[in-house]
């Protein structure tokens, strides 16, 4: 299952919300959609979800155009918008049951599907509550459950972590990992780049409606010309001395020490990371923990964007 966006353009009067963007992602990939406010992320998501018609360009899911054949594309898409459901007079279970019916899931299968999704998204305990009585985190889960009810191969998630407490964020991250493991193609926009970096296999960085970087994380790193990452070191002792040594080591941009833990901003690939550890050990430091974090999306984002909005 491949999602392809080809030269997509969306204009509102004289404003170009999306300016000829092209990228693709496929099953099993989690793509982060990153950009400042007003960059065109939500507009692109809405076009992909068939809620908006682009001014020009095309987007296909498994060869089906979301612009020309939106009715066919609906079954492929699960969309989690940035606003949450807030109906007064309908319970969580009734809401999910309605969408299961809307996707033509019938009889016993519908009951099993709804219950399965409720269990998967941890909604069993609140299934009889009305939607407007739920907290933001709970509504978020309902929104994800609704998007999953017809088991779509493509998930579009617009700021799903916005406003969630730390526990809900962790739960969301775990949920996304499971979904990615199920082979779904996921496009997720978020401002919490550290969390995206934990789960994303690729990213699209967008600003003023134009793509600045797109591809798998490796490709983006290659495009950036350098690989930023943070390495966490826990020496047995001599933490401050280690920090000073690291600052003199090639590839290290910065090193900070706090409570015996040293954090290093490092530029380099996996090979360079191994070399750095070897250098530290040869210098006579005894290391309890050496943990290179994944690519620092935050740094790449700051490098390539200018913070311009339209």
């Amino acid at each position: 299952m491949e999602v392809e966006i080809d030269n997509l353009r969306k204009e509102y009067g004289r404003t170009r919300a999306v300016n000829g963007i092209s990228f693709s992602f496929s099953s099993g990939q989690v793509f982060g959609f990153i950009g400042p406010n007003g960059a065109g992320k939500s507009t692109t998501m809405r076009v992909l979800a068939t809620l908006e018609e682009p001014t020009s360009g095309n987007a296909t899911i498994d060869g089906v155009s979301v612009i020309e054949e939106p009715e066919k594309a609906h079954k492929y898409i699960g969309y989690v918008p940035d606003n949450l459901p807030s109906h007064r007079d309908i319970t969580v279970h009734e809401y999910l049951d309605f969408f299961a019916r809307a996707y033509n899931i019938r009889g016993e299968k519908r009951r099993q599907t709804v219950e399965g999704v409720e269990e998967f998204t941890n909604l069993i305990g609140i299934r009889d509550k009305t939607l407007n009585a739920l907290s933001k985190g709970m509504k978020n889960r309902v929104s994800i459950a609704r998007a999953l009810v017809h088991d779509p191969p493509v998930l579009l998630m617009d700021e799903p972590a916005a406003g969630l407490d730390p526990r809900a964020r962790i739960e969301l991250r775990e949920l996304l990992k499971v979904l990615a493991g199920q082979g779904k193609a996921i496009l997720i926009s978020s401002h919490i780049l550290s969390e995206l970096a934990e789960i994303c296999t690729g990213a699209v960085i967008i600003e003023r409606g134009k793509i600045l970087r797109a591809g798998t994380l490796q490709e983006i790193i290659a495009q950036s010309g350098k690989a930023h990452r943070t390495i966490v070191l826990r020496p047995l002792n001599r933490a401050e001395e280690l920090r000073k040594t690291l600052l003199e080591t090639p590839g290290v941009e910065d090193a900070r020490e706090e409570d015996g833990i040293v954090e290093v901003d490092f530029v380099g690939g996996d090979e360079a990371c191994c070399d750095l550890l070897e250098t530290i050990l040869r210098a006579g430091f005894r290391i309890l923990e050496y943990r290179p974090r994944r690519v620092d999306l935050e740094q790449i984002f700051l490098d390539v964007t200018r913070g311009d909005v339209q």
Binding site: E11, G13, R14, A49, T50, L51, E53, S65, I67, E68, E69, P70, E71, H74, K75, I77, Y79, P81, N83, P85, H87, R88, D89, I90, E94, F98, F99, R101, A102, Y103, N104, R106, G107, E108, R110, T130, R146, H150
Partner: protein, 510 residues
């Protein structure tokens, strides 16, 4: 049995299930229902206690009828306000840009969505009507009215509620911002008030025997059937328009609308034609003329708001055969085809009406002069001219990304200017102490359809000649200006070229 109900439950439109569940859980609905029942109870008690009783030997034969008149008035008022407002507002919110309900990205078709909303509204109306049943039974027991009368009145009330609900759904489907939608809603509310007041007056007259309607005559029931068909036809038209409005832009949205319009127009022609032949008088055909005038005037306005281009999906369905292609040009989405459809329909309607009046002479003096035909013709001609002029202006504004969907706004502004400017010019340049429209100043008012249509028919032939000459010149000019665009649209109306490899494969297959 459980399996049967489960199967039945699966077959019910999901929207009906959801909306009914919401209505049952809704405090608003429950509150309205309780208020409605309380008001009915209070009104009935007041009527019973304050009513002057006849002598002991006499029976009050009006008590039941009077109580029923009040009860059905309250019922009609409650349903006309609550149900259309609830249904329309809910759909408008679901279609709002800022509050995506995602109903429209499920597997449900736009037709199923609207039908579900309509059926759910109908079920809610039935619920409220049935809540009223005990009071109506009580009214019946009190004498003064019979069961057929109750059935006719309640059917009329129910139809009115469903028609206004359909109108509310249509307004909610119009792609407009909140302000414009509120304005449309306000006009809808005013229309609803008129309809409700009119129906209430009619049913009161019917209940009290003030009207000449005789339920024992077969003409009464035939008229009822005709009226029912007309109401259903109008509701159907609103329905297909609403479906088209919420269908994806890439779909051939105009096709069902134009097929329905054609069907409605033909059915009306047959119905009114039979009535006219039965009476041996041409006047009933004016009903068809009026329907045609409304249908094709609206068709002109809709057509100028359509896009010039059609997407690949529509293009794929354009026939390769020339004759068939020319025929479907009038029915497929696209501004040019839509306008041609309206122009042909208008021309055939006015010609047909004129011929009908010539063939079947009217005993009424005024009507023999074909005045009504003239009025309908002038209305259509003015709509044609203003619409095409608006289309030209919109194309001139195309570079500023003026959306085609709002071409009607240009049309409204043009009509506004055409109506107001004559008065301003007269006030500024000519004497303004006299009222009326003197012959020497007729030329000033030519752009004002309201003045000219009335004056042309009411006064001398000079006014009529001026109007016809002006409209002919204007119509011809805008037609000529639009002609290159129209020809270009016909030329572009082609199916996509088949790649050679596919042609080869098809040939090999044969």
């Amino acid at each position: 049995m459980t399996e049967f109900f489960s199967h039945l439950g699966d077959r019910i439109n999901p929207i009906v299930v959801k909306e009914t569940r919401q209505a049952v859980n809704s405090r608003l609905v429950a509150g309205f229902l309780l208020l409605f029942l309380s008001v009915q109870l209070v009104v009935m008690l007041l009527m019973m206690t304050t009513r002057e009783m006849p002598d002991q030997d006499e029976i009050d034969l009006r008590a039941g009828r009077d109580v029923f008149t009040f009860v059905q008035g309250i019922l009609l008022g409650t349903c006309l306000i609550l149900i259309p407002a609830m249904t329309g507002v809910r759909l408008a919110i679901e279609r709002s840009d800022v509050n995506v309900d995602l109903l429209f990205i499920s597997s449900l078709t736009p037709r199923a969505v609207l039908l579900g909303k309509l059926v759910a509204a109908g079920a809610l109306a039935l619920l409220i009507f049935s809540a009223c049943a005990p009071f109506m039974t009580f009214a019946y027991v009190m004498r003064g009215l019979d069961v057929p009368t109750i059935v006719v009145v309640l059917t009329a009330d129910y139809l009115a509620v469903m028609t206004v609900t359909m109108l509310a759904l249509f307004i909610a489907s119009v792609p407009a911002n909140r302000g414009l939608r509120v304005l449309l809603g306000f006009f809808g509310f005013v229309g609803m008030c008129y309809l409700g007041a009119g129906l209430l007056a009619l049913t009161t007259a019917f209940l009290r025997g003030w009207s000449s309607l005789d339920m024992n005559a077969w003409e009464f029931w035939v008229s009822c059937a005709g009226l029912l068909a007309l109401i259903l036809g109008v509701n159907g038209l609103l329905f297909v328009w609403s479906v088209a409005l919420i269908s994806p832009a890439a779909a051939n949205r105009a096709l069902p609308v134009r097929i329905y319009t054609l069907g409605f127009w033909l059915a009306a022609a047959i119905g009114f034609g039979i009535w006219s032949l039965y009476l041996r008088r041409p006047e009933p055909m004016l009903g068809w003329g009026l329907i045609s005038c409304v249908l094709f005037s609206l068709q002109f306005i809709i057509a100028i708001c359509e896009r010039d281009q059609w997407g690949a999906r529509v293009a794929r369905r354009i026939p390769r055969q020339l004759i068939l292609r020319m025929l479907v040009f009038f029915f497929y989405s696209g501004a040019a085809g839509g306008f041609a459809f309206g122009a042909f329909g208008a021309a055939i309607s006015i010609s047909g009406l004129a011929i009908w009046f010539a063939v079947i002479p009217s005993p009424l003096r005024g009507l023999t002069e074909q005045q009504p035909v003239l009025v309908l013709g002038l209305v259509l001609a003015y709509t044609y001219c203003y619409s095409l002029t608006a289309a030209v202006i919109r194309r001139l504004l195309a570079k500023s990304s003026f959306p085609p969907g709002y071409t009607w706004v240009i049309g409204v502004i043009l009509v506004g200017c055409g109506c107001a400017l004559p008065y301003i010019v007269r006030f500024a340049l000519f004497e303004h102490s006299r009222y009326g429209y003197p012959d020497e100043l007729t030329f000033l008012y030519l752009t004002n359809p309201f003045v000219m249509i009335i004056e042309a028919v009411r006064y001398t032939e000079t006014h009529l000649l001026y109007t016809i000459a002006f409209l002919s010149a204007w119509g011809l000019t805008v037609t000529m200006v639009n002609l290159p665009w129209f020809v270009k649209q016909i030329q572009k109306f082609q199916p996509p070229e088949v790649p050679e490899a596919v042609v080869g494969a098809e040939g090999a297959g044969e």
